[in-house]
Each structure stands twice: as structure tokens, then as C-alpha cells.
Amino acid sequence: MTRPNYDAVIIGAGHNGLICAAYLAKAGHKVLVLERRHLLGGAAVSEEVFPGFTFSVLSYVVSLLRPSIIRDLDLPAHGLELIPLETSFVPHVDGPGLCRWSDDAMSREEISRFSARDADTYPEFALTMTRAARFARSIIDSNAPNPASLDPRELLGLLRLGRSIQAEGAEFVDLQTKLLTMSAVDYLERWFESDALIAPMSVSGIIGTFLGVRSPSTAYVLLHHYMGEIDGAFRSWGFSKGGTGGVSLACASAAESYGAEIRIEAPVEKVLLENGRAQGVVLENGDEIAAKIVISNCDPRRTFLSLVGEDELDSDFVGQIRRYKYRGSSGKVNLAVDRLPVFPGRQGSAHLRGDIAIAPSVDYLERAYDEAKYGEFSKRPYINVVIPSVLDPSVAPPGQHVVSCFVQYAPYHLEAGADTWPLRREEFGDTVVETLAEYCPGFEDSILHRQVITPWDMEQEYGLTEGNIFQGELSLEQLLFQRPTAGWSRYATPIKDLWMCGSGTHPGGGIMGASGQLAAKSILDSGDL
């Protein structure tokens, strides 16, 4: 083979791949990013699906994008503009519902309509969670500790981690244990009594998982809501101007400004291997591209079982990769509407400047999960609605709006088989519209266009295995030093010169970008480039 043209070739132009590319290019390396689709962004993508209406097709809010990435890559200069979410509204069928505002006093007033005690507890809860989140933040911003290593540096790191937790006192140790292992509802019930408040708060624990709000281990993600605030950037929860694809485009622009090259419609067929080392990639059209190292932004199953091939790997490792769980549980319905939805009991549009959750009670949410467990989509699902056009008129024609609905549960594995999803797609879309119409009478009449994305579609079109939006379940046994498998959580793989940088690596999930950033750091530290 001829001398490699590139230092690194990255498979997949999702936000992590682009961020990784930008960091490597910034360090002076020659980088090529290959994207299968005609658009950049992977799951963080904006598309004008219907004329004049730009949808954030999959991922729809920017959560926890690491502030260090925004700074290091100077993303605002590349067009990144984040618009903070201002409200969190839960409509009820029989009343004005509950709206939480960025103004604490207003939130407390709303909560006190359900429980005065809960309104009093609300700020105290935020304080405790913020303290706990400080610790969690340090975990997503650094490599996962490795308890199996005998390297003294690792052991010292573990010891330090242990001491830092211990130093906080027994109460703190207990709090962390509870957050890691309890269900979101059980944890919230330690604080609050009102079902109307507990239900919408608990849902952050189940987004993208195949778990219910009463399932143990769902409490931890509650912390994510408090992490944004200590990042010093309230804007870590928000819309990206022009849709979520704006994040990817800014990352791409940054990468290109450092000299990285990005090619679209360049699907990769295989990773080129020679003597067990990655040498480059072969495209589906047969072109070979040589590179010193190959970095995969795809999920672990695609990376190892499709792009590498199990013959090249030892059977133990293949077993671990097969065992890694995806089980997508959500779908997406994007609507173009000719007017804003009207919720009885609420005037104006102030309550629409954030997210709207169909989460009226804990029982409602749990029943939605129970249906999905046995292989059916929820007849009355949890829906997280956002209307980005309220804050960003650029995504819809004047006076018209974009309504984005994240829907759970839509299990990839339907009882009748995942491949029956195409037959159920419209029925699924109808379920979502009917559900919304219960809270917003006449809503169905405002719909101009509808795009329904089932977990099957996510797999077929966006390469998300089993429709999992996080490239693998964010369950405790698939996090930290075990993401994607024990011993391979530091972005390197058993194949020399093949690296990973996607959400299927630590810390994974959401538009944090931490996986891409940490992968780039590991690669630069390894000296392989």
C-alpha cells in the first residue's frame, strides 16, 4: 500500500466525529471525515423536510454540550448560536397543568397550586442536586476510571476518587448511591408529595432508555438538569439556531478551518486491515483511502461486526460486543402546523417557549412503559414536545410553526418483529396526534405535514442500531469503564490503530460532545499520530 494520504480518517460526521476531527486537525494532523448521508450531523441534523419547514429531525435540544468544546473550537465564531429553553410545561386534561419557568418565584407559585410543601422544598432540592451534580460533572469530563488495572497511576486515581467521595461525608456517599441505584420516582418521593410535579420531573431519567420512571437506576439522569447551571452556561439546555444541525455545522466549520476535509455521500464498506492493524478504509464504491489511524464514530456493533468483521477479533471480545444492549425505545414525530397549539387554561404563548411534556401522572408514564415491555408501542405515550419556531422563526414560514415530538415508548423490538414497523408507522403517528389532541383540542386540524420516524427508520436511515439514540443503552453496566465493554473504555480498540469516538464510548449520549473530545485527547496522548 502507498503512503497514507491522511493521518486520520473518521467514519461518520456526527457531532462527535466532527469534534474529534476538529481537535486532531487543530493539533496539526491531516484528517478526513467520511459521511454516508448527503448531510452532515448524524443524529444532530437539520433538514428542510417540507418546503419552508426545517426540522431537527432526530435530536431536538442541545443538552450539556461541553463548555470547553465551545471555547476550544470557538464554535460561536463558526455560527453556533444557542437559544435557551425558558419553560417546562405539563398540560393536564382537566386544568391548566403545571408550568415551571426560569423565574423561580413563578415556578414556586405554580407548584404551590398542587402542594405548598413541594413549593417550599423545590429550591432545597435544587441545592442538593447541584452539589451532587458537581461530582457527576467531573466524571463526564474525564476518562473513565478503570478498577481492573494494576497500573499504579490508575490505582492512585481510583484511590483519589474514593477519597474525594469519602471526604464529602457519609451523607454524600449515601446520596450518590441512591442517585445511582434508585428509581427516579422513588428518589423524588423522598422530596415531593405531588404526583403532578413528580411525574414531569421523573421523565428525564427515562429518555432514550428501555426503563420506566419506577425502574431502579433511573434517578441519576435527574442530575443532568442541574449540571448545566454549574457549567456557568445556562445555555447548555437549548435550541440551536436553525435546528440541531447547527451544532454539527459549527463543528464542521471549525474542523475545516483547521484543515480537516469532510466528504458527504461517502459510505464506508470496511476498515482496511493489514497484519491486524487498521490501515485505512474501503468505500462502498471500491475506493481505498489509506490513513495512519481510523476512528469510528459508529456504534460498537457497526464498528466491529460490520466494518471490521468478527473474524479479525477474538471470540471473547465479539461476545462482549454482541451482548452490548441497544433496544431503542423512542420515536420521533415532526409536524408542520399552521398555528400554535392552544392549551385550555393557558393564554398567550409564554408557556410554549420551552418543552411541553405529556406526563400528567406517574401512573400514566409507568403504564406507557408497561405496554412497551411486552413489545407494543404505548397507546398513550410520554411525549416531549418542543416548538422551536417560537424562539427561532427561521425554521418555519411566517405565522407557521414546527412541532417536534419525541415519543416514548416505541420499542424497536415489536412483538411481531422490528421489521413490522413500516406497517405500523402511520398508526404510530396517529397515536401521537390523538394523544396531543386530548390536551389541545382541535390540534389535528392545524397539521400541514407530518414526518414519522420509528426506531426502525432510525436504524435504516441514520445508522442507529436498533434505533437507540445513544448508540447503546445508558444503563449502569454499560457506562464508565464498561462502555462499550470492560477494558476498552478509553477509545482504543483491540485492533491496533482503530479508535472509537461515538456515543457508544464513555460518557456517551446526548449532544455533549465529550466522547469525541476525550477520544481526540486519548489519540493525541497515545503518540500514534
Binding site: P147, A148, Q166, D174, D186, R214, S215, S217, E366, A486
Partner: protein, 524 residues
């Protein structure tokens, strides 16, 4: 009227009797106070129908710790064990059901009929359990470490626990860490193909939390129960209570039944004794409470003596009872489908993981399923004195049954529960109703009222990971309490519930110092 003792033990169940006996053996004058008219607590055998005695609320003695048996010398007092684990029949509507043996060589035949690879994997599964057992026992069967202690001794203890994990070898250690937070459904699915085998193995992991097999963290409970399980006590819970009572009496423990404690007497943050329902006061500078921790702190101690923080934590301790107890008096053994010649002693319904999960689902909505999971023990097969000759007793634990049933536990609701149980057993054992002589139904609310089990929880609090690592709360996870001389020694303390006697035995280390003196004695 007042009597003075060195130590008072509240509750005459297995843990209370264990603590009392160990204290008496160390030379203390000890009294055990039991609210009911007979000893045994959740292991107590009662006459529930004229001529028929129950087995005890909890009827599985396979987790009784052998080291406690040795410490109490229970074999001297007649305690005997079966040579092998008792097999469990998982009956089917049609077909012979599956007889689950713990020992892989015995299990081989029943499993290979269904899947040859499962039979091989079961052997490997048991090997894995055997390899990790010593470590699990070390972590959960020793005095709990102080997670936040800064003394050298605490660090040493923590270090030892961590080191014992590492002793497993890298592969097993990583596997334990990987598996513990998983759902037991996912874990057994990795090992086995046969649904009925999966259900048979998973069931014990989910019955005492607020969990079904798909709930994360239930593999942790399976690890705990499997690494502790041994052949059970000959004669069941009744035999265990007899031996414990004899050992206590021989050690000089005074036993008072029908003596319900209504108040703890506390002076300057130190316990000084207890007051009984009849007004009698007993004095002692040491009180060990084997009752439910919420009953102790929220019922027996005046509220103004607890710090706000302590009160909040103990109130938040999760103890949602999800099991009911039904005892059936039967004129004969009603045989099970496809097993006409067998009289299995343990039977459990639920032929798939989803059967169990569905049985759990209902409880979240304050109801019980039409097809609950039933754990049936037939004590009369090993102790014929519990019923007239040839007659039998079915001791049935019904999972999952809510404490907070929608509409409340009215008489009608109890009848509905009984009928559900009878219908479900009849599916597998058609002769049941013909053999029926008498019944007893105890809902979680009855269990609370009769036994002082807050929330009706048979393990005195859910077996959830956080409540196992720090039981019942981080304020009192090492048996001692904010009150000098007051200690926990029941299932609501480390290492949790079941007929283990472990909390009762471990609590002794907190109650007495290395020389065997109680704190009050040392300060004297």
C-alpha cells in the same frame, strides 16, 4: 412495678433470639419481649385452623447462616439440615412442569430435556456462583464498614473489602461489577435459552424489592441469594424456632411472650428501658430492637427526640410490602399436573420472565394480578405434626400484593385475593378445592398490624441496592443508633431480611466491645 435487666431484646423472632442468646452467653441477664403469644416472629408457626398449623410467614430456611448456627450451637438443640437443596417444581398448565434443582448434577436431566446447552451453561453458572461466593459473603456477612469514617481502622476495613473483590481475579471481579446493576431478566437471558429455567432462577431475586425481573439491580439480589443458599433446615421454620428458643433458654434468657413494647424510655439521649402495653416498666441500659426500624423510631420513640434529618431519612426508608400470606388446610396432598406420583415440597408458579413481570406490574397501580406468582411450601411433608394424619398444609406466599390496595383491604378484597390464589393453584392442581378444609389470608396490612412490620414488608424494608449497602439509613447502618445503649438487630439492619439470623449475630459486635462489655458497662 419495675424489673431490671442488663439487656432487653425487643422481638422474639430469629434475629431477636440470636442476639439475646449471644448476650446471655456473654454473661448478661437478658429478657426477650415478644408482642405475640408465641415466639418466632416471621418464622412463627400458628394454628390457623383447628388442628392445622402454618409454617411461618417466611418459609424458606435455605439462607440460614451456618456460622450463626455454630456460634449458637444450634445442632446441640436439635437443629438438622437436609443433605441436599430442596428442589422447586415450576408447574405448567399442560405438561409435567420443570423441577429445579440447585445442584447441577441433579439438575442436568430436567434441564437437558429442554436444552442441552442450558444444561452445560447451568454448570458454568453454578461454578461462577461458587467462585464469587466467598467474596460476596465477606462483603455482606461481616460487620458493615464505615463508608465515611476517617479512622485508620475504617480505612483498613474498607481496603479489605475492596481487596477481597480483587481476590476474585480480574475476570470474575469485572463480571460481578458488570452484572450487579443489571436486571435479572437480562442476566439469565445471557446464560439460558429455556424460558421456564430463566423464570426458575430469576424469581428469588425479585420477591422482596419493589421490583420485577426487568428491574435493574435485581441481579444483585440474585448474586446475594445464590451465594448464600444452602440446604434448608429439616422441619422448616418451626424447627428453627424450636432450636433457637431452646438455645436461648439454655443460655439463661428470660422469654416473655404477649409482652408488647409501647414505648422506649430515654433519658439524656441514652436508653433506660421500655414500657409495656400493660404499663409495666422494664429497666436496662442496653436495648436491642429486632423490630422494624420504622416501628422503633417512629412508633416507640417520642418524635421530639429525633433530629429532623434522622427522622426524614428513617421516614424515607422504603418498606412497601408486596407479599400476602395464604395458608391452606387440606385433607390430602393435591397432586400437580403431569406429576401424579410426586409430592414436591416447594412449588412456584410463573413459567416465563414475562409471567413474573406481569404479576409485578399490577402492584404499581395498587392492585394485584389475576395471575400472581405463588411460592408454595408444604411443611407437612417434613413435619407431620402440623396437621392431622395424612392431611397437609400449603403455605403460600403471594407476590405481588399491594399494601395500599385501591379501595382498601375490605373483606370483599380479601375474598377476591383468596379466590385468585385458589383459582391459580387449581390450574396446576385440579384437586385443590376438593381437598380444602380451611384457609387463612393475611394481607400486607394484616402483617403490619399483627407483626409490627411497617408497610407489611416481610424483610423489614426493601432489598434495594442502596438499602442493602447502608441499612436502614446511613445514620444507623452499623446497628448503633443516636441513642446510647439502643441498637438495631433485626432484618431492617445489615445484611437484611430472610431467615438468616445474620443481623442478630452481627449486631453483637456493636453491642459489646472486644472484651464483651457493653458500652454502658465500660463507662461505668
Amino acid at each position: 412495678m419495675s424489673s431490671r435487666y442488663d439487656a432487653i431484646v425487643i422481638g422474639g423472632g430469629p434475629n431477636g433470639l440470636t442476639t439475646a442468646t449471644l448476650l446471655a452467653k456473654a454473661g448478661r441477664r437478658v429478657v426477650v419481649l415478644e408482642r405475640r403469644d408465641q415466639l418466632g416472629g416471621v418464622a412463627s408457626s400458628d394454628e390457623f385452623h383447628p388442628g392445622y398449623r402454618s409454617a411461618g410467614l417466611l418459609h424458606d430456611t435455605s439462607s440460614l447462616r451456618r456460622w450463626v448456627v455454630d456460634k449458637l450451637e444450634l445442632k446441640k438443640f436439635g437443629l438438622e439440615f437436609h443433605r441436599h437443596s430442596t428442589p422447586v417444581l415450576i408447574p405448567q398448565k399442560e405438561g409435567p412442569g420443570y423441577l429445579h434443582f440447585r445442584e447441577p448434577d441433579k439438575a442436568k436431566h430436567e434441564i437437558s430435556v429442554r436444552s442441552k446447552s442450558d444444561a452445560r451453561n447451568y454448570k458454568d453458572f453454578r461454578r461462577f456462583i461458587r467462585r464469587v461466593s466467598p467474596t460476596m459473603r465477606r462483603v455482606f456477612d461481616e460487620f458493615p464498614p464505615d463508608l465515611a469514617g476517617n479512622e485508620l481502622r475504617d480505612l483498613w476495613q474498607l481496603g479489605r473489602k475492596a481487596a477481597s473483590l480483587r481476590l476474585l481475579g480480574k475476570k470474575d471481579m469485572m463480571e460481578v461489577l458488570r452484572v450487579a446493576p443489571m436486571s435479572v431478566a437480562d442476566w439469565v437471558e445471557e446464560w439460558f435459552d429455556s424460558e421456564i429455567l430463566r423464570a426458575a432462577i430469576a424469581a428469588p431475586a425479585v420477591t422482596h424489592g419493589y421490583t420485577g425481573p426487568w428491574s435493574p439491580g435485581t441481579s444483585f439480589n440474585l448474586l446475594l441469594s445464590e451465594t448464600q443458599a444452602q440446604p434448608s433446615v429439616k422441619g422448616g421454620p418451626a424447627a428453627l424456632v424450636r432450636a433457637l428458643a431452646s438455645a436461648a433458654t439454655a443460655a439463661g434468657v428470660e422469654i416473655r411472650t404477649g409482652s408488647r413494647v409501647v414505648r422506649l424510655n430515654i433519658l439524656d439521649s441514652a436508653v433506660s428501658g421500655v414500657t409495656l402495653e400493660n404499663g409495666e416498666t422494664l429497666e436496662a441500659s442496653t436495648v436491642a430492637a429486632s423490630c422494624h426500624p420504622q416501628h422503633l423510631f417512629l412508633q416507640l420513640i417520642p418524635a421530639n427526640l429525633l433530629s429532623l434529618d434522622f427522622e426524614k431519612e428513617i421516614s424515607c426508608y422504603r418498606s412497601r410490602g408486596t407479599a400476602a400470606k395464604v395458608n391452606l388446610a387440606l385433607s390430602e396432598y393435591p397432586t400437580f399436573n403431569g406429576r401424579p406420583d410426586a409430592e414436591p415440597m416447594m412449588i412456584r408458579t410463573g413459567t416465563s420472565i414475562n409471567d413474573l413481570e406481569r404479576a409485578f406490574d399490577a402492584v404499581k397501580y395498587r392492585d394485584f394480578s389475576n395471575e400472581p406468582m405463588l411460592e408454595i411450601y408444604v411443611p407437612t411433608l417434613e413435619d407431620s405434626s402440623l396437621a392431622p394424619p395424612g392431611h397437609h398444609v400449603f403455605s403460600v406466599l403471594v407476590h405481588w400484593v399491594p399494601y395500599d390496595l385501591e379501595g382498601g383491604w375490605t373483606d370483599d378484597a380479601k375474598v377476591r385475593l383468596l379466590e385468585t390464589v385458589l383459582d391459580n393453584v387449581s390450574v396446576y392442581s385440579s384437586g385443590l378445592r376438593n381437598a380444602l378444609v380451611g384457609v387463612e389470608v393475611q394481607t400486607p396490612v394484616d402483617l403490619e398490624t399483627e407483626y409490627g412490620l411497617t408497610g407489611g414488608h416481610l424483610y423489614q424494608g426493601e432489598h434495594a441496592i442502596d438499602q442493602m449497602l447502608s441499612r436502614p439509613t446511613h445514620h444507623c447502618n452499623r446497628y448503633s443508633t443516636p441513642f446510647a445503649g439502643l441498637f438495631l438487630c433485626g432484618s431492617g439492619s445489615h445484611p437484611g431480611g430472610g431467615l438468616t439470623c445474620a443481623p442478630g449475630a452481627l449486631a453483637i459486635e456493636a453491642i459489646t466491645d472486644r472484651n464483651g462489655a457493653t458500652a454502658a458497662e465500660s463507662s461505668r
